[in-house]
């Protein structure tokens, strides 16, 4: 293990690691543009210069390997002067675009200029003009702003493996660009926007939507597939404006897919259910009278808490429970191993944990067709779910139907009781990803109209039925379900799924 000295402080590092990696890990901040922890180092921006004892000149720390007895100095007039000069060069051709650039406020160039470049520009010549164009369906490039750090190029080359982007032209005319007729159109394309240290690459869906310094950021989890990527939601005036991946090496690394990122439009869709027809009391009355003849169909996008409560409900009315889930497309794996799952529901693993491996709805529909079941409760959290014909037929057959859904469907128009559900962004809860990791969903904004979270109306029904005492928060339900656990222990990064409470009534799903 080589030993190095950083600003007089001794460190022991694994051999072969790059210096900047170690420094960042150690907490010594060294400014950089082209280096990104998820990408291979390139060493072109020259911002991460440090002084080492092995060399007379300043060295680029992102490319410098740690060797034994290396002494590193990260501060000092020499280094500052070098940084200042690098900054000045980077800025001479940068357009005065802060007013119209969406990156302003989270822009590394701004931050580093403020911190490391003291002084005003001495550049009087005309700036180089580069083009502004769409790189693909999702990303637009302002060539003028590009500082040729090649982060995006390395991303498409090394992470995605599609390699659409490359650096065109030389010197101060250089900018990232796509090959003609090959648009930047891969399932992870929008990650280049996040890693762009300046505002050259812009997400077209977020273009001019909000200034980032007005926004609020909330850490939550993506529900678009069973991977459960950790994301940060950018909130502005009570709306989710965008989702960005949040680093979690155990789940998604630094990235997320475009599909999950853009799957926020339906939250404010006019098709959202906003008004209730009937309520928890009606459901409770009907189910009480029909005890033993009740079927419950639950989507595997429901949170753990909702599943737990649905299970309680099934026990209370001696009903059968069935599941509906959604599989789409084929599994896509990037060059670096980032996969997009076919299972588009967020919590199938959680359902499997609570209810066993067999997660079908055939048991319920068969019961309905045979006439055993006359009452059906459908609880769905999957947007635009194409309902299986079997369920559709079954809903037509039952004598009483209750639907809790996020979007309008033919089921909800037909139902006797309709309860508008809060979508994933409107409720607290936990979901379990395909690897069995419990992760938090956080309430980002208010639910539309009269929509309530499934956890709360299910509890109300249970209270009416006498199966519960009171209505508690989602966290309260979670504590009931998993004794000794709470949201604090789940944390922002998730944790392993704990054991479920043993005193919960046995699984009533009849097989």
């Amino acid at each position: 293990m080589p030993k190095i000295k950083v600003d007089g402080q001794e460190l022991e590092v694994a051999p072969g690691r790059k210096l900047l990696d170690v420094l960042e890990e150690h907490g010594t901040h060294v400014p950089h543009f082209c280096w990104h922890p998820g990408l291979k180092p390139h060493g072109n921006c020259r911002m991460c210069l440090v002084k080492v004892n092995n060399s007379r000149k300043l060295e680029v720390s992102c490319m410098y390997p740690c060797t034994d007895n290396l002494e590193v100095t990260t501060k000092g007039p020499e280094i500052e002067a070098a940084r200042k000069t690098v900054m000045e060069f980077l800025l001479i051709n940068h357009p005065l675009d802060c007013p119209i650039c969406d990156k302003a406020g989270e822009c590394m160039l701004q931050d580093h200029t403020y911190k490391y470049r003291h002084g005003l520009s001495r550049f009087h010549e005309d700036k180089v003009i580069k083009e502004t164009k769409d790189l693909g369906p999702t990303v637009r490039i302002w060539g003028n702003r590009c500082i040729s750090c090649t982060r995006c190029i390395r991303f498409t080359d090394d992470v995605v493996g599609t390699g659409e982007l490359s650096l065109v032209n030389r010197g101060d005319h250089g900018m990232a660009d796509v090959h003609p007729d090959v648009p930047l159109d891969n399932p992870m394309s929008l990650n280049v926007v996040d890693i762009c240290p300046v505002g050259a690459l812009i997400d077209k869906s977020f273009l001019f939507q909000a200034r980032v310094w007005f926004t609020e950021r909330i850490e939550t989890t993506c529900t678009s597939c069973s991977r459960g990527c950790n994301v940060t939601a950018t909130m502005h005036k009570g709306e989710v404006k965008r989702l960005q991946p949040r680093r979690n090496d155990d789940v998604n690394g630094f990235w997320m897919c475009d599909a999950g990122r853009l799957d926020i439009e339906w939250l404010k869709s006019p098709a959202r259910l906003r008004t209730a027809r009937g309520g928890a009391k009606d459901v409770a009355d009907q189910l009480r009278s029909a005890a033993g003849r009740v079927g419950i169909i639950l989507s595997t996008s429901a949170t753990l808490e909702e599943m737990f409560l649905a299970k309680q409900l099934a026990t209370a009315v001696n009903g059968r429970i069935g599941f509906v889930s959604l599989d789409q497309g084929t599994r896509w794996v990037s060059k670096s191993g980032f996969a997009i799952e076919t299972d588009k529901t967020a919590n199938r693993r959680g359902a499997a944990t609570l209810f066993g491996k067999n997660l079908g709805f055939e048991d319920v529909t068969a019961g309905i067709h045979s006439g055993d079941l006359t009452h059906l409760v459908v609880i769905n959290a999957i947007p635009n779910l194409a309902w299986p014909e079997d369920i559709r037929d079954a809903t037509k057959k039952v004598s009483w139907l209750a639907v809790a859904d996020v979007l309008e469907s033919d089921l909800s128009t037909r139902a006797a009781v309709v309860i508008p559900s809060a979508a994933w962004a409107e409720k607290d809860g936990t979901i379990v990803n395909r690897d069995g990791r419990v992760q938090r969903l956080r309430r980002l904004h208010d639910a539309p109209g009269a929509a309530v979270s499934d956890a709360s109306w299910l509890q109300e029904v249970l209270v009416h039925l006498g199966a519960r005492k009171t209505v508690v928060s989602a966290e309260g339900v979670f504590r009931e379900a998993f004794p000794g656990m709470d949201y604090g222990k789940v944390g922002n990064m998730g944790s392993a799924l704990p054991a479920i409470a043993t005193d919960v009534p046995a699984n009533t799903v009849q097989k």
Binding site: L96, C98, I100, F208
Partner: protein, 169 residues
């Protein structure tokens, strides 16, 4: 502190008052202070003199006060050479505004040479405190405080100035 009793000491005799008179006055002046009449006469002379001074007030609707350039009155959105609003919807004014009275919604520009324009630019003049920080914060020289300070409206809605109203100013 000794609570003084006005009934006991408020009425000092003339000597005491003379003793209190400001220093540097002639004995004649000191003595005359003791009596009411001379100072009253002097005061009357002064008020009489003021009666013949010209009035300093303005007769408002006919005579208008013209503030000098640099007065912080109503806002104006400036136009560029082609008559388009100069504003690029950078939100700097809204950020700098201590009263939070500026509402902007941005949209992509319909012109090839511009990227971003305000789709909506509203200033709630009832919230505005006319501090001029928006003008100071504007990096594009697009907003300006004019010398207009007479502002009349009959409804609250009128005082929410939209983009067209601000461009007209």
């Amino acid at each position: 502190m000794d609570a003084h009793n006005p009934h006991a000491d408020a009425h000092k005799d003339a000597h005491a008052l003379v003793a209190h008179a400001p220093p540097g006055l002639s004995w004649l002046a000191r003595a005359s202070i003791a009596a009411y009449l001379p100072s009253i006469a002097a005061g009357m002379a002064k008020t009489l003199e003021w009666m013949f001074r010209p009035a300093v007030t303005l007769r408002y609707p006919e005579q208008q006060y013209k503030p000098r350039k640099g007065y912080r009155g109503e806002h104006r959105l400036k136009k560029d050479e082609q008559g388009r609003p100069k504003c690029v919807a950078c939100f700097m004014c809204a950020t700098a505004c201590p009263a939070e009275c500026i509402t902007i919604v941005a949209e992509p520009a319909p012109w090839p040479d511009r990227d971003k324009v305000p789709a909506k630019f509203e200033i709630d003049m009832l919230k505005c405190i006319y501090c001029g920080m928006c003008e100071e914060a504007c990096p594009c020289d697009a907003i300006e405080l004019t010398e207009t300070f007479t502002q009349i409206a009959t409804t609250r809605k009128e005082k929410i100035y939209d983009k067209e109203r601000l461009l007209k100013n």
